[in-house]
Symmetry: C2
Subunit: 458 residues, 2 copies
C-alpha cells in the first residue's frame, strides 16, 4: 500500500495563502458578518470577501463572485443559502480553488434529497481537483495560519488537535479550554462529511508534527475499519480523547438529523475504542477534565495514587472512586510515614494513605508543600491527588511544590463556586489541573493511568 | 414496640433557649473566635461564652465554667482541647445540660484509646440525662433557632435536612447550595458518633415536619438494620439523597482515620440503598446536582424525556446518556410535531425528539418558550431537558415558559465558564435547576424518575 501523503493532501485547508469568504457581509447579525469580524480579528492577510451586492465590507474590497478575484485562491468558506451552494462550488473549481469549506446547512441532515446533493457536490469538487469540508460545519481553526473559528479562541498555537462532527461542540470546547491555558494546533468541524471525513482528519492530526494530543467528537463513522486501524497506530504515539455519541437508537436518530451520520451499536463501539487505546469519555465536561490532565501533566509510571487532603470528608469518597476506577491507593513505606508524621501536626492528622493533613492546612497551607515533596520521592506512589479548600496561599504552595516532583499531580478544591473560577485560572496557568470535585480529578488521573498502561503494552 | 418520640428526645439540640460556647475566644484565628463570630452574626439570643481567662468576649459576658452561668443551659458546644473534654462533660451534666455538642477532635479517629474515652463520655452524659453529638464535628445548623455552622450559610429556613458524618462536607454543601437558593431546615454534622448517630438524625429528619428532602453523607453505619428499616419508611414520604462512602478497603481505612467509623462492602451497600428507595450518589457535585432537581422541581409521572436544544451537538450525547440512565427519549405524536414545525424555522431544525431548534435560537430565543409549552401538553412526555447557549434573553424565556408547565424541567447551558455562574444564579433563583453540562442534567432527571417510580410502587 502506497502511503498516502495526508499532510500534503489537506495542506490547502490548514495553510492557505489566500481565502475567499463567500457570503461575507457587513450586516450585523448575519453569519457572514460574524466570520468577517473573526477573520479581521485573527489578522488573516489575503482575505477576499465575496458578495453580489457589496463592493466593500468593513474596509476590505469585496468581489461579486469568486472568479472575479484577481489573485489565486487557495481556500474558500461558503456561507451562501443552500440553493446557491452548487453553483458556487462550480465557480470555485473553475477558479482552481483546492479547498472548499461549506458552512451552509440544509443538506444530508434533512434526508435523502440532501444526501444526493452532497454526493453531487463532492463529485464536482473532486473532478475539479478540489476537496470539501462540510457542509453544515463551522470550518477550520488553525491559529498558526490565522484561521479563526467564530469567536475569541485566541490565535496562539499549541499542541492539541481537535476533530469534531459538531460545530457547536468544537467551538465551545476550544473556547473553554483556551480560557484554561490550553492551546490548539488545529481544530476541524467536519459537519456532514460529504467528502472529507473525521477519519481523514484523524489521520492528518496523527501525522501532524504540531499535534501531540487529539480530541475528537464523533457521531457516526463512515469507515469503521480504517478508523480502528488508524486509531490503534496513532494511540501508540499520541493520546486520542474521544466522545463517541449516537450509539443508541434515539441517539442515532438525533445524529441523523444533526449531521446525517450513521451511528452504530454501543457495545461494538465500546470495544473498538478500548482496543484502539482511545481515552473514551461521555460528556463535554469529561473531555475537558481529561484534556487538562493530558495537556498539563506527564504520564504516570503506574496506577498507585496518593490522596492528600486538608478537609477530611472528601478523602473517603475519593478513595472509593479511585478504587472503582481501577487505581490503587496503596499503603506507604515506613520511611515515608515517618517523614510525614514529622511534617504534620500530631492531632487530627493521618500519615496513612489517604493522607489527612486536617484543617490545620487552613491556617498553615505550607504543610501541603512538604507532603507533596515527600510523596514525590515515595517509590510506592505514581500520582498525587491533592484536595484543598482553595485560597491564594494554597495555590502558591501547590505551584511551588509541583515544580519539585516528576509525577502527575491533580488538585481538587472544595469551595464556593464563585471563588473557584479564579483559583482555577491561576493554577491551570501554572500547568496544574484543578477540578471542582475530587471525584472528577480521580477520573482524569485514571484516564492518564489507563493510557500510560496502553502505551507500555504497545 | 413503643414508638420513640425522637422529635422530643433531640429537641434540645435544635431549639435550645440558651447555649454555652465552651472554649469561646476573642483571639483571631482560633476556632473559638470563629464560632463566636458565627453565633453573633446569626443573632442567637441567650449565648454564654465560657473561657477561664476572658471575662468578656466581643462584648458578651463570659464565664470561667459552665456551672458559673446564672441561667439554665439547654445546649453546649465544646471547643476545648481533648484533655479538657471529659471534665467539661461532667460539669455540663452537673449543670443539667441536655444537649452536648463536642467539636474537639482527637478521639476515636486516633485508635482504640480514643474509642474507649468516647464510650466513657457517652456513659457519663447519658447517666446524667444528657446526649452527645460528636466528638469531631462542626455541630448543628438550624436557621429557625439561630444556630449557625461556621460560615455564611444564611439564616433563612427551608425544607432540606442534612445529616453528615463529615463536618467539612456539611459545611461546604450547605454553603454552596445556599448560594443557589436552596434553604435548609436543619443540618447535623454527626462526627465520631460516640452517642447519637446519623441513624438517629435520619429518624429525626424523617419525623421533622419542616424537612421535606433529606441529604446524607455517610461513611460507616453502626446499626445497618435500623438504618435500612428507617430509610425504607422515610423514602415513602421524603426523598433521601445519600452518598455512602468508605465501602472499599482503602476507603474504610480513610473512614476509620477520619471519623472512626466502620464502613462495609460496596455490593451490600448498593443493594441496601436501592432497596430502601434512596437516591444514591457518588460525589459532592452529584449531591448538589440531585438536590437542585428535587428541591426545585416536581416528581415526573414517568421516564419519558423531551430533549430541546439550540446547539446541535450536545443533543446526541445527551440522548445516549438518557437511555443509558434508563430514561426514554420517545417519538412525539403527529399533532405535537405539526405544532413544533409551525413554531420553528424550517431550515436546520428537527421536530423529532431530540428537538433541534438550531442556532436560530441564538438570535430568536423565543422559540424555546413556545416549544416548552407545546411539550408541556404532549401526553408522551414526562420531563423536559432544555439545552441552550445561555444569555439573558434565553433565561427570561425559560423562566416564563416554565411557569406554564407542570412537568419537571432542567436546563443545561453550554458556554464559557465565567458567564455560567451568573446564569446559574438567576435561573436557580427562579426555581429552574441549571447544569453546566447536559449529561449532568440528564443524571439529575433520571434520579427524579427513579424516585418517582419508587414512590408509585410503595
Amino acid at each position: 500500500m502506497t502511503k498516502r501523503n495526508i499532510l500534503a493532501e489537506l495542506d490547502p485547508f490548514f495553510h492557505p495563502r489566500s481565502l475567499a469568504l463567500i457570503g461575507a457581509s457587513s450586516r450585523e447579525g448575519k453569519v457572514g458578518r460574524r466570520f468577517m469580524d473573526a477573520f479581521l480579528e485573527a489578522g488573516f492577510q489575503k482575505l477576499y470577501p465575496v458578495n453580489l451586492r457589496e463592493s466593500e465590507i468593513l474596509g476590505v474590497k469585496a468581489y461579486p463572485t469568486v472568479t472575479d478575484i484577481p489573485d489565486h485562491v487557495d481556500l474558500v468558506l461558503i456561507l451562501t443559502p443552500p440553493a446557491a451552494v452548487m453553483g458556487t462550488i462550480k465557480e470555485c473549481v473553475a477558479k482552481g480553488v483546492k479547498g472548499i469549506v461549506i458552512n451552509t446547512a440544509g443538506f444530508g441532515e434533512g434526508g435523502e434529497e440532501g444526501k444526493e446533493l452532497e454526493r453531487e457536490m463532492a463529485r464536482i469538487a473532486r473532478e475539479g481537483g478540489a476537496r470539501i469540508v462540510g457542509p453544515n460545519c463551522i470550518g477550520i481553526y488553525c491559529p498558526s495560519s490565522g484561521l479563526p473559528f467564530l469567536w475569541s479562541q485566541g490565535m496562539e498555537s499549541g499542541s492539541v488537535g481537535v476533530v469534531s462532527q459538531s460545530g457547536s461542540l468544537a467551538d465551545h470546547l476550544t473556547l473553554i479550554a483556551t480560557r484554561s491555558g490550553v492551546k490548539f494546533s488545529k481544530a476541524i468541524s467536519s459537519g456532514n462529511e460529504c467528502d472529507l471525513t473525521a477519519v481523514d482528519f484523524l489521520e492528518y492530526l496523527g501525522e501532524d508534527p504540531d499535534t501531540e494530543i487529539i480530541v475528537s467528537y464523533l457521531e457516526g463513522i463512515k469507515d469503521g475499519g480504517r478508523f480502528n486501524q488508524l486509531a490503534r497506530e496513532i494511540s501508540k504515539k499520541k493520546p486520542i480523547i474521544a466522545w463517541k455519541c449516537g450509539a443508541s437508537e434515539a441517539g442515532a436518530r438525533a445524529a441523523a438529523s444533526h449531521t446525517g451520520a450513521l451511528a452504530g451499536a454501543v457495545p461494538i463501539w465500546d470495544g473498538v475504542l478500548r482496543g484502539a487505546g482511545i481515552i473514551s469519555v461521555k460528556s463535554l465536561e469529561e473531555i475537558l477534565d481529561c484534556l487538562y490532565a493530558f495537556y498539563f501533566q506527564p504520564l504516570p509510571a503506574g496506577r498507585r495514587v496518593a490522596i492528600i487532603t486538608g478537609p477530611g470528608g472528601p478523602a473517603v469518597g475519593t478513595t472509593d472512586a479511585c478504587l472503582e476506577l481501577g487505581l490503587e491507593v496503596p499503603r506507604l513505606s515506613e520511611d515515608t510515614k515517618e517523614m510525614l508524621r514529622k511534617a504534620m501536626p500530631p492531632a487530627g492528622t493521618s500519615a496513612e494513605n489517604p493522607i489527612d493533613l486536617s484543617l490545620a492546612t487552613v491556617v498553615a497551607p505550607d504543610i501541603y508543600g512538604e507532603v507533596i515533596r515527600i510523596l514525590g520521592r515515595e517509590g510506592n506512589i505514581d500520582m498525587l491527588l491533592v484536595i484543598g479548600s482553595g485560597g491564594e496561599q494554597f495555590q502558591s504552595v501547590i505551584k511551588e511544590a509541583a515544580r519539585d516532583i516528576r509525577k502527575p499531580l491533580a488538585t481538587a478544591v472544595i469551595m464556593y463556586l464563585e471563588s473557584f473560577i479564579q483559583d482555577y485560572t491561576s493554577l491551570m496557568e501554572s500547568g496544574i489541573p484543578i477540578y471542582p470535585d475530587p471525584v472528577r480529578a480521580a477520573r482524569a488521573l485514571a484516564k492518564l493511568a489507563d493510557y500510560a498502561e496502553f502505551r507500555r503494552r504497545s
